[in-house]
C-alpha cells in the first residue's frame, strides 16, 4: 500500500475483493429480500435476522472484529468496501447493538468468560441486543442517568429505573445498560456497565411509534431486576469509560456514505420518472443543480472518509477529518431524503397506502424522510458532537 506518490486508486486485490462482495450479494440474497432491496423498502426484524445469518455463514457479519473472536480479519480498506457495497446494495441494515457496539466493547474490556458466553451468539444472531443508555431525564446529559443498581450482598445487583429510545428492544434478548452504582460519587464516576437478560422477571418493554410510522423505539422499565455480578463489564463505577469507548466503535460506521450514494441514485431515478413542464425533473436544470449540489457534498465527505481510511490503513491515529464524518454524514442523508420528497411532489403526501397509489420506488420514502430526522440526534446529537470537536480538536474551552 505504501507508494511514493499520492494515489486514489484502489489496489487490484481490493478491486477484486469488491467484485467478490458484489457477486456474493447477488447470489446470496434471497429473492424476497432482493425485491424489497430494489425498492429500498423497510425490512422487518425477521428479514434483518435472516440476512444476518446469511452474512454470518459467509463470515462477514462482523467485518471489524478480529479473527480470534470470529471476525474475518479484513484490512481497513476491505472493511470499508464491504460496508459500502452492503449499503449500496440496499440489503437489510443489521442491528448494530451487538455487532458494532457491545461486541467490540466486550472484545476490548470483557472477561474471558464474558467473551466466550456472549460473542459467538452475537455472531450467529442467536441473541439480539439493544442499548439501554438514554433515560427520560438523561439525553444529551447522559451522565445524569438515574437507573440504580444496588448490591444485594449475595452476588447480585438489583436494578430499578427506566430507559428510553431503546431501539428494537421488543425484538431483543439482551440489553446493555449504564446504571448508577454509586449515588454519592460525582456524576460520571458512579456509573457501571451491565449486561441484562431481557427475560429476567421485572422487565417491561413498551414499543411506541416513531414519526416514521414504524415501531422502532421502546420504553424499557426495570423493576427490582436481579442481575448476576458477573454481568458487570469493566470495573465497578468504571462505566463511563465503557460508554465513551463504545461511542468510539460507533464512529467508524456512521458516515453512511454508501447509503447516501444509493439514495442519490434513487432520487435520480425518481426525478427521471417525474414529469413537469413537458420534461422530466432529471432534465430540469434547477433540479439537476439541487441533486448535483448534494452529490458534491457527499463526494467531499467520501473523500474525507477515504483520507481517514488511508490513514488507518497506514496505522495512523484518526485525524481531524474523521471527527466530521458523523456530523456531515447524518446531515447529508437527511437532505437527500428532503430532496426526494420535493421531487416526488404530490406523491410525497401518500402515507402507508396500498401498493399502486404511488410508484413502488417512492412508497417508502416518506417514512424514511421522517424517521431519519433521528440521524442528527442519535449517537450523540450533532450539537454534542460540535461541543466535543470545539473542545477536543479546536481547543476552545468551556
Amino acid at each position: 500500500m505504501l507508494c511514493d506518490v499520492m494515489d486514489m486508486t484502489i489496489s487490484p486485490e481490493h478491486v477484486q475483493f469488491r467484485e467478490e462482495v458484489r457477486a456474493f450479494i447477488r447470489e446470496a440474497m434471497p429473492p424476497h429480500l432482493r425485491e424489497k432491496a430494489a425498492l429500498d423498502a423497510n425490512f422487518d426484524m425477521k428479514e434483518v435476522m435472516e440476512w444476518h445469518r446469511i452474512l454470518d455463514r459467509k463470515g462477514w457479519v462482523a467485518p471489524h472484529w478480529p479473527r480470534e473472536y470470529g471476525g474475518p480479519g479484513l484490512d481497513v480498506t476491505r472493511r470499508f468496501i464491504l460496508t459500502e457495497e452492503l449499503e449500496l446494495s440496499g440489503a437489510p441494515q443489521l442491528s448494530p447493538f451487538g455487532l458494532a457496539m457491545v461486541g467490540p466493547l466486550l472484545i476490548q474490556y470483557g472477561t474471558e468468560a464474558q467473551k466466550k458466553r456472549f460473542l459467538p451468539k452475537i455472531l450467529s444472531g442467536e441473541e439480539v441486543w439493544c442499548q439501554g443508555y438514554s433515560e427520560p431525564n438523561a439525553g444529551s446529559d447522559l451522565a445524569s442517568l438515574r437507573m440504580r443498581a444496588d448490591d444485594d450482598g449475595k452476588g447480585h445487583f438489583v436494578v430499578n429505573g427506566q430507559k428510553t429510545w431503546t431501539t428494537y428492544a421488543q425484538y431483543a434478548d439482551w440489553i446493555f445498560c449504564l446504571v448508577r452504582t454509586d449515588p454519592k460519587a460525582k456524576k460520571q464516576s458512579g456509573i457501571s456497565f451491565l449486561l441484562i437478560d431481557l427475560k429476567t422477571p421485572g422487565i417491561t418493554v413498551k414499543p411506541f411509534l416513531t414519526i416514521g410510522g414504524t415501531p422502532a423505539f421502546c420504553e424499557t422499565f426495570l423493576d427490582n431486576v436481579v442481575v448476576p455480578k458477573e454481568n458487570l463489564v469493566g470495573t465497578l463505577n468504571g462505566g463511563w469509560t465503557m460508554a465513551k469507548a463504545l461511542l468510539g466503535h460507533e464512529r467508524t460506521l456512521i458516515a453512511t456514505v454508501g447509503q447516501s450514494a444509493r439514495t442519490i441514485r434513487r432520487i435520480k431515478r425518481i426525478a427521471g420518472a417525474t414529469r413537469a413542464g413537458g420534461r422530466t425533473l432529471l432534465d430540469d436544470p434547477i433540479f439537476q443543480g439541487k441533486i448535483a449540489r448534494l452529490e458534491i457534498k457527499l463526494r467531499a465527505l467520501q473523500m474525507a472518509n477515504y483520507r481517514a481510511i488511508a490513514g488507518a490503513q497506514l496505522g495512523q491515529a484518526p485525524g481531524p477529518e474523521s471527527s466530521i464524518l458523523k456530523l456531515r454524514g447524518s446531515e447529508i442523508l437527511q437532505q437527500i431524503y428532503e430532496l426526494a420528497m420535493e421531487i416526488m411532489g404530490l406523491n410525497s403526501l401518500s402515507w402507508f397506502n396500498e401498493p399502486g397509489v404511488v410508484p413502488e420506488s417512492e412508497q417508502w420514502v416518506a417514512s424514511a424522510f421522517n424517521y431519519l430526522r433521528a440521524t442528527t440526534i442519535y449517537g450523540g446529537s450533532n450539537e454534542i458532537q460540535k461541543n466535543i470537536i470545539a473542545k477536543q480538536i479546536l481547543g476552545l474551552g468551556s
Binding site: 507508494c3 448535483a292 463526494r299 473523500m303 474525507a304 466530521i324 481547543g395
Partner: protein, 384 residues
Amino acid sequence: MNFDLSEDQKLLVETVASFVKQKSPVSRMRGLRSDPVGYSPQVWRQMGQFGWLGAAFPEAVGGAGGGLVDAALILEQLGTTLVPEPVLPALVAGWALLRAGSAPQHRRFLAPMLAGESLLALAYAEPQSRHDLHDVETRAERRSGSYRLRGAKRFVLAGHAARAFVVSARSGGAPRARDGVSLFIVDRDTPGVGVQAVATMDGRRAAMLTLDCEVGADALLGQEGDGADALEEAVDVGATGACAEGVGITQTVLQMTLDYLRTREQFGVKIGTFQALQHRAVDMFVETELCKSTAIMASIKVSDHDPVQRQSAVSAAKVQLAVGGRLVTQQAIQLHGGIGITDEHDVGLYFKRMHILNSLYGDEEHHLARFAALPSFLDGVPAP
C-alpha cells in the same frame, strides 16, 4: 489509496512554508498593493530558480518533472500568507502552452517563464463569454503565412506584466462551438496589441486586452481550430490550483479565528467559551476539512487521462471551495467582530482573495452545471 506525501514532497512543502513565513509574510503583499507591478520580479526569479514555477512541468521543457500534486502543494503554502507573485496564472498559461505548443514554442516562451525570467498570461475571457471557454468572439483570420487577430479579452490575470499572451480565438466553426477555437502565442510588443493594466480586489493586477494585430503562422499553437482540449485542461488546472490555494487560506483564517476566540475577552470571559461561537468555529473547521479533501482529490484527478473523471473531480472541488471558502472567510470576519472590517486587519485580505479564487476558472454555478451535465452524473442510475 495513499494520501501521504513522498519524502521529496514533504521537503518541498517545508521549503515553501519556511520561505513564506520568513520572506513573504502578509505584510509584504500588503505593501505591494500600491505597487504598479504588484509583485517582485526578483522573488519571481528566485521562485524559478527554486524550481517552483516548473514543479508540474516535464524536464524537457525546463520543468522539475513533478506533477500537478506538487504544484498544488506549493500553491497551498503560498495561500497561507497571500504571496503576491502570479504563480497561479502563470501555471495556467504555461499549461495551455505545454499542451498545445511545439518544442520550439516551448523553448522560446515556456522555458524562460519556468526559470523565472519572464511571465505568460492566458487571455480567454471575453465580455459575453462569462465562464464558457467556447464562447469566443475574438476572430483569427488566416492570411498567407500569418493570422489576423481581432477582439478583446478581459481580466487577463498578470497580463499587465506578461511578456506574451496565450490567446484563444475563433478560426472557424459555429458561435460557441467547441470546434474552431484556436490558441495563439502573442508577443506583448506586437503592433496592435493594447494592454490596459487594471487592479483587482485582492491587491493584484490584471490587463484588459484589445487585439487588432497580425501574427506569424508560427504563433499558432497546435492545429488550427483544435485548441479546446488544451484550453479546457489548462483552465481545469487553474481551478485545481485555486482549490489548493484556497485550502491554504481556509486553514489560515480558521487558525487566526481560533486564536482570536481564545484570547479576546468580553463579559469577563474568553469569547471562545460561548457555545454559539464554538459551533460556528466547528462549521468553519468542517468546511476546511472538506475543502482540503476535495482539493486533494482534484490535484490527483486533474491528471486523469479520462476527461470525464478530471472534470467531475475538479468541478466537485471547485463547488466545495465556493461553499466552504465563502463560509470560512465570511465567518472569520464575523467572529473577529469590528476589527475584521478594518483594512488594517489581515482577515479582510484573505476574504478578498477567496472571492477572486471562487470567481476564477469557473464559478460555483458553472461547475455545478458542468458536474450535472457529465455522463458520470447518470452512472449507476437504475432505469425508471
